[in-house]
Symmetry: C2
Subunit: 148 residues, 2 copies
């Protein structure tokens, strides 16, 4: 057996295997932030890129996720999974939360980021989620409830 | 020349050619709505499906886009384009607006739904937008502004 035992390695430290991207809005600032550069959003993007080292998670800088009233903002996307938009993020606090969220989503075979173990910032700051492009729900119960 | 002249046909009536999906939340209701079925969100889904006939736009019913404070909610997705989440929609008013928004997005070669000509409900009700999975911005100006 090698000196590194994969079975005992903390899964939170493992690189994700599903293509995963965090888009961080670099134009974001809160109404109370000064109108100066770098924007707090750009600082969050930088901190997230640092936190992502070794995790196999792409961190990409974007200009505006249209969540300007509740910045700072970031979106977590994984192939074949729901995409999540978060707001009310803090540049100096939430980079690691974004990486943890990305890991949770990448590991979620049902495509949904679990609530349990989700970092607090990604619970309070949830703005919206969008299903995969081809997502189609089969839900006879809902159909029954809708009957007049 | 045929009796139908394609050059004079209103583009708003043409079927879209880029795969396009509108996901409508069927669990949505506003805080002031009664706790009854069908939910207003389900009615919006039904109206949107009707408005989509002939447009080559898929309308899919989903349970929760996590925009519960600003329902009714829907998301418009097109291949190789940004995805848009809208809220504050009205079941009896905004189905056609969603179809118009989907047409605008499908026709947008730069991947961004234009603000001009966007239905008013999709301006006021914009909740967030998410770039395509592989989206990467090249923006030297932004980089310059960020220099300390």
């Amino acid at each position: 057996m090698s000196s590194i035992d994969a079975t005992t390695k903390d899964p939170a430290d493992a690189a994700v295997v599903v293509p995963t991207t965090i888009h961080v809005c670099i134009t974001c600032r809160r109404p109370t932030d000064p109108d100066t550069f770098p924007r707090p959003g750009a600082l969050l993007a930088r901190a997230t890129a640092t936190a992502a080292v070794g995790a196999n998670i792409a961190v990409r800088r974007v200009r505006c996720l249209a969540n300007c009233n509740r910045g700072l903002s970031a979106a977590i996307s994984c192939e074949r999974r729901w995409t999540y938009v978060f707001g009310d993020l803090e540049a100096t606090r939430d980079a690691v939360a974004l990486i943890e969220g990305a890991r949770l989503l990448a590991a979620a075979d049902d495509g949904v980021m679990p609530w349990r173990n989700r970092p607090e910032a990604l619970k309070r700051g949830l703005i919206a989620r969008v299903p995969p492009f081809d997502h189609e729900e089969v839900d006879p119960d809902a159909a029954a409830k809708e009957s007049p």
